[in-house]
């Protein structure tokens, strides 16, 4: 019978130190979780001892190890608390190494998790998984990769957000001040399609060895749609993509954000046929999103938004020089790609960056 080992372990060995929350036999444990404010609005799996002990089997790290202090209230975050929230989110134990790497990446000061949570903007943590672990745990990089239906994609991203809520205390209307938020704040986690050996995976581009499994965390939301069913050259497709990228947030907002382009297989095929690699695509997109300042000046056409008139003679980039990341994902049919716009707070390129961590046990 599944769970016998954990039941016996819970009964005779124990080993958990989190506070016990009792409920009566006539109480619905899922409702108890709601009443205590532990959920993101969707039901959670009640974190019983058996389930938490089973989740902890997914890592060799000690339950009592403190992984860091979780914003916004800088509470100590232990492996056990992560496992409890992973149970609630619906994770399987084998997702734990990915989730632990994601939590570590989120706690890197460069990720600025406090700000991502507290901002009035739409952003939340987006997780991209690279390497063999993605296949091992059954992650989706194909059809509907940014959508619903895959347990690992859905629950790893959800677990990170539940940890911020429950351990860090980051709740909407309290420290989370988002004006509108975004559905991606429930979860937005997917794997990169690494099926083409000619393609340099995101992890390698970010300095990790080929074959390493990594998580990359990005402050953003989305996706926003990019549709071009008629361009057939890499130059044309680049200009086409750029025409949508420059509109993110507002066409006249510049140099304050990054973005991820989730390149679908059919769009990628146009670049691949012309032997364009990641570096060339990202560089070309950056250059194609530089515009004359004269077109961006505040007040033009009666629109208040824009750059000061003093910049009218400049050539103004939309993004930071390293602000565009291309990630391959998606189903085989459809000349559509996705754009994940970044948090607008990154006026200083160095203060706020995506963070990549290797996934270990």
């Amino acid at each position: 019978m599944p769970g016998v080992a954990e039941r016996l372990e819970a009964k005779h060995k124990g080993g958990l130190s989190a506070r016990r929350i009792e409920y009566g036999e006539n109480d619905d444990p899922a409702e108890v979780c709601y009443e205590r404010g532990w959920t993101d609005g969707l039901p959670v799996t009640p974190p019983t001892d058996e389930r938490v002990l089973r989740m902890l089997k997914g890592t060799t790290r000690s339950p009592g190890e403190v992984i860091g202090r979780m914003p916004p209230y800088l509470a100590e975050c232990t492996i056990e608390k992560i496992a409890i929230n992973a149970v609630m989110a619906g994770c399987k134990p084998e997702y734990m190494p990915v989730l632990l790497a994601a939590v570590e990446a989120a706690l890197d000061p460069l990720f600025t998790l406090h700000g991502v949570l507290a901002t009035t903007y739409f952003s939340g943590p987006i997780i991209i998984v690279n390497g063999p672990v993605a296949k091992r745990i059954g992650m989706n990089s194909g059809i509907n990769a940014l959508g619903q239906g895959n347990r690992a994609n859905a629950t790893i991203g959800r677990a990170l957000n539940l940890i911020v809520r429950n351990v860090g205390g980051g709740r909407p209307g309290e420290a989370d001040r988002a004006t509108l938020g975004a559905p991606s704040k429930y979860t937005l986690c997917f794997a990169e399609d690494e099926s083409d050996p000619a393609w340099e995976p995101l992890s390698v581009a970010r300095g990790f060895a080929p074959g390493a499994s990594t998580v990359t965390l990005f402050q953003g939301h989305g996706p926003e749609a990019f549709v071009d069913q008629k361009s057939r050259t890499p130059e044309g497709l680049t200009r086409s993509l750029a025409s949508v990228l420059v509109k993110l947030g507002h066409p006249r907002l510049v140099q304050s954000a990054r973005a991820i382009v989730v390149l679908s297989p059919e769009h990628y095929a146009i670049y691949r046929q012309a032997s364009w690699d990641r570096g060339r695509i990202e560089r070309a997109l950056y250059e194609a999103t530089i515009r004359p300042g004269a077109e961006l000046v505040a007040g033009l056409d009666g629109i208040g938004e824009g750059v000061p008139a003093s910049r009218a003679s400049e050539q103004v980039p939309k993004f930071h020089e390293d602000g565009l990341m291309v990630v391959r994902a998606g189903g085989p049919a459809g000349l559509f790609s996705g754009i994940l716009p970044g948090w607008l707070a990154g006026r200083n390129r160095l203060e706020l960056q995506p963070v990549t961590r290797e996934i270990k046990a």
């Binding site: 989190a18 506070r19 409920y23 532990w38 209230y73 056990e80 429950n166």
Partner: protein, 92 residues
């Protein structure tokens, strides 16, 4: 019979601290003008500073290095030590 789950929170207890009573008057105290790092908050605080100085109120400027992160403890401690009131300049 009862059942239990494990607490997913940090199990910290909120401590309610009484708010510092606002000063009855600005006479003799220094007002901190705290810029949070957003664009044009300096313009806003320039105006506030001018108006306060016209009324004979002493002011002192402070700043966060960036709006994306919380203020460094050292800056908050300086404000608490050197000023009797603070105006935080939110702007964009």
């Amino acid at each position: 019979m009862s059942n239990w789950m494990r607490d997913p929170t940090a199990e910290t207890t909120a401590v309610k601290r009484p708010r510092v009573a606002p000063p009855k008057s600005l006479d003799g105290i220094t007002v901190a003008l705290f810029e949070i790092g957003k664009t044009r908050s300096d313009e806003f605080l320039d105006q506030v500073e001018r108006r306060l100085n016209e009324r004979g109120v002493k002011t002192k400027r402070y700043a966060k290095p960036t709006n994306a992160k919380v203020a460094p403890v050292e800056v908050m401690q300086r404000v608490a030590t050197e000023a009797g009131a603070v105006v935080i300049g939110l702007s964009d």
